[in-house]
C-alpha cells in the first residue's frame, strides 16, 4: 500500500523536446492526486521545490527521474551546461528512470534532425545506447507521441506503491504495451471483413487498408485506455501513426503502403500467408450490414 511516511522525490528534466509529454500529463483528470504521492523537486511547468538553477548545480535529491526529449551527447546546453551531463548526475542518483515519450525512449521526431547523433536516453531506435548498461535496472520506457497521461500515472503509482512493473525487452510495461493499438478499436468488425474506410473521419470502415493505419502492428493501449477518457485516433477516423514504435515517425502516415494491393506490413506476428488466406476468404463475402451507414442522423 502507498504510505505517506516518505514521498519519493520526483524530478522531471527535459532534453530536446516540444513539451508534448509535459502537456499531455497535464490533461490527467487526477493529476494532483497522483503527484501528491511525490515530492516534486523540479518540473518544467509545475511548481517545484527547486529552481532550474539549483538543478544545474547537481545538488537536488532525486528518487524518480522523468526524462523527456531526445538526446545528444554534445552541443545541447541549458544554462551553459550540457544536458547530457546534467542527466547523468540525476540518472545516477535516481532509483527509477522513466523515459516519457518516444523521443526520450527511442529518439523520435527529433532524431530526424541528426540521425547519427540524436537518440533516446537508453535506446537509439531499438539499439541500446552506451547508457543502457548503467541504467537498465531502473529504466521504464513509455514511448508515445506524446505519452498517454494514464500510462505515466500507472507507472508513477506503481512506483509510489513499491510494486514491481513487468516490462518487455525494450523496458515497456507489458500491461500497457502488451496490446496493439488495434485491440479495442471500434472498427474491428470492418478489419475482420476487410471493409475499407472510404475517407477520414467516417464511423464506417477500417483504416488499415488504404488510410495508413498502423494500429495492427503498433504496441500501445490507446483503444483500451482512451485519450481524455473519451476516444482514440482510430475511433474518430484518423489512422494510428505508430507513434509508440521505435521507428516512429515513418513517412506517408495517411496512406497504406501496398504491393499490388497487399499491405506491405502485416499485423503484428501474423504470417503473411495466413493473413492472405483469411483476407481472400473474408473478401469473398459481401455483408450487407457493413455496406450501410452505422447511424443516420436527422437532417
Amino acid at each position: 500500500m502507498i504510505t505517506e511516511s516518505y514521498k519519493p522525490k520526483l524530478l522531471w528534466l527535459q532534453s530536446i523536446t516540444c513539451n508534448g509529454n509535459t502537456h499531455s500529463f497535464l490533461n490527467h483528470p487526477n493529476l494532483f492526486s497522483i503527484l501528491s504521492h511525490f515530492e516534486i523537486m523540479h518540473h518544467p511547468v509545475l511548481e517545484g521545490a527547486y529552481t532550474m538553477d539549483d538543478v544545474i548545480k547537481g545538488t537536488v535529491a532525486c528518487d524518480v527521474l522523468i526524462v523527456e526529449g531526445s538526446f545528444t551527447e554534445t552541443k545541447f546546453l541549458k544554462a551553459g551546461v550540457e544536458v547530457s551531463s546534467l542527466m547523468k548526475i540525476y540518472a545516477d542518483k535516481a532509483k527509477h528512470i522513466i523515459s516519457a515519450g518516444t523521443c526520450a525512449t527511442f529518439g523520435g521526431i527529433f532524431k530526424q534532425k541528426d540521425p547519427e547523433n540524436i537518440s533516446g536516453f537508453c535506446f537509439d531506435l531499438e539499439e541500446k545506447t552506451s547508457r543502457y548498461v548503467q541504467y537498465a535496472s531502473k529504466l521504464i520506457s513509455l514511448p508515445g507521441c506524446p505519452v498517454h497521461p494514464k500510462w505515466l500515472s500507472y507507472v508513477l503509482l506503481m512506483i509510489a506503491n513499491n510494486t514491481k512493473i513487468n516490462i518487455d525487452n525494450l523496458h515497456r510495461p507489458v500491461e500497457l504495451y502488451g496490446y496493439t493499438v488495434h485491440t479495442g478499436c471500434t472498427r474491428n468488425e470492418y478489419f475482420e471483413w476487410k471493409i475499407d474506410a472510404k475517407n477520414f473521419g467516417l464511423k464506417e470502415g477500417c483504416l488499415f487498408y488504404e488510410q495508413g493505419c498502423q494500429g495492427p502492428y503498433t504496441r500501445g493501449s490507446c483503444n483500451k485506455i482512451l485519450w481524455n477518457d473519451t476516444s482514440s485516433k482510430t475511433r474518430v477516423g484518423t489512422p494510428c501513426f505508430g507513434c509508440t514504435e521505435p521507428n516512429y515517425p515513418q513517412e506517408s502516415l495517411f496512406r497504406t503502403k501496398t504491393n499490388m494491393g497487399i499491405p506491405a506490413k502485416m499485423p503484428l506476428g501474423i504470417p503473411r500467408r495466413a493473413y492472405l488466406i483469411l483476407t481472400g476468404v473474408a473478401k469473398s463475402f459481401k455483408i450487407k450490414r457493413f455496406s450501410e451507414k452505422l447511424l443516420e442522423y436527422d437532417k
Binding site: N259, M260, G261, I262, L276, I277, G280, F285
Partner: protein, 198 residues
C-alpha cells in the same frame, strides 16, 4: 494402416476419379453412379464421403487449387529472381496442363463454366485461395524487391493467369500448332516485360 489414413486415401481416390470424369465428360453429364462404378465401390459409399455432387465438385476445386499452390509455394520460397520465378510458374502451369490436364481443364471447363454449382460454398476466392495466396505472395515479394511495378493486384493477376489460362484453353481445343512447352520461354518473357518495374 490406420482407419483415418485409409479414409483419407479413399477420399482422395474419389476426388481424383471424379476430377477426371468431370473434366473429360462434363459436370452435368457425370453422375455419382459413374464415379462409383469407375472406382468399383457402391454409390452409397461415395455419399459417405461427399454428401452431394456439388460438394464433391467444390472439394475438387480446393484440391486442385492447393496442389498448384503447393508447387508455387516452393518457387516463392526460393532465392530466384522475379523473372526466374515467372519462368518457373509458367513451367509448372504448362507442365501440369500436360501431365495432369484434368487439373487445369477442371478449373477452365467445370469451375468457370458452372458457376451455379459453386456459388453456395465457394464464394469468391474461398475455394481457390490455396493458389491465389501464393500468387499474391509472389507479387508482394517481387514488388518489395523492386523487380515488378506496383499496381492493382487484379490488373497484374489477370495479365499473368489470364494469359496462361488462355494458352491452356487453346491447347485443350487442339488449336496450338506446337507442344505447349514450346511457348514457355516466350510467354515467360512477355509476362516479365509487361510487369517489370520501369
Amino acid at each position: 494402416m490406420k482407419i483415418a489414413d485409409k479414409k483419407a486415401l479413399k477420399r482422395e481416390s474419389i476426388i481424383q476419379t471424379a476430377l477426371q470424369l468431370f473434366s473429360s465428360n462434363g459436370f452435368h453429364k457425370t453422375t455419382i453412379p459413374d464415379i462409383a462404378a469407375k472406382l468399383h465401390i457402391s454409390v452409397g459409399n461415395v455419399y459417405n464421403y461427399f454428401s452431394s455432387k456439388n460438394i464433391l465438385a467444390q472439394e475438387i476445386i480446393k484440391y486442385t487449387s492447393e496442389a498448384l499452390g503447393e508447387k508455387i509455394q516452393v518457387v516463392n520460397m526460393s532465392d530466384a529472381s522475379a523473372e526466374e520465378k515467372i519462368h518457373e510458374i509458367v513451367m509448372i502451369y504448362f507442365t501440369m496442363s500436360k501431365e495432369k490436364p484434368e487439373m487445369i481443364e477442371y478449373f477452365l471447363r467445370v469451375y468457370l463454366s458452372n458457376r451455379d454449382v459453386f456459388t453456395d460454398g465457394c464464394d469468391g476466392m474461398v475455394c481457390v485461395s490455396g493458389f491465389i495466396t501464393e500468387i499474391m505472395i509472389f507479387f508482394d515479394d517481387a514488388v518489395s524487391s523492386g523487380e515488378l511495378r506496383n499496381q492493382d493486384f487484379f490488373s497484374a493477376f489477370g495479365l499473368f493467369m489470364g494469359y496462361l489460362g488462355g494458352m491452356v484453353f487453346l491447347k485443350g481445343e487442339d488449336v496450338l500448332p506446337k507442344e505447349i512447352e514450346f511457348y514457355i520461354d516466350d510467354i515467360s518473357r512477355n509476362i516479365y516485360n509487361a510487369l517489370k518495374a520501369e
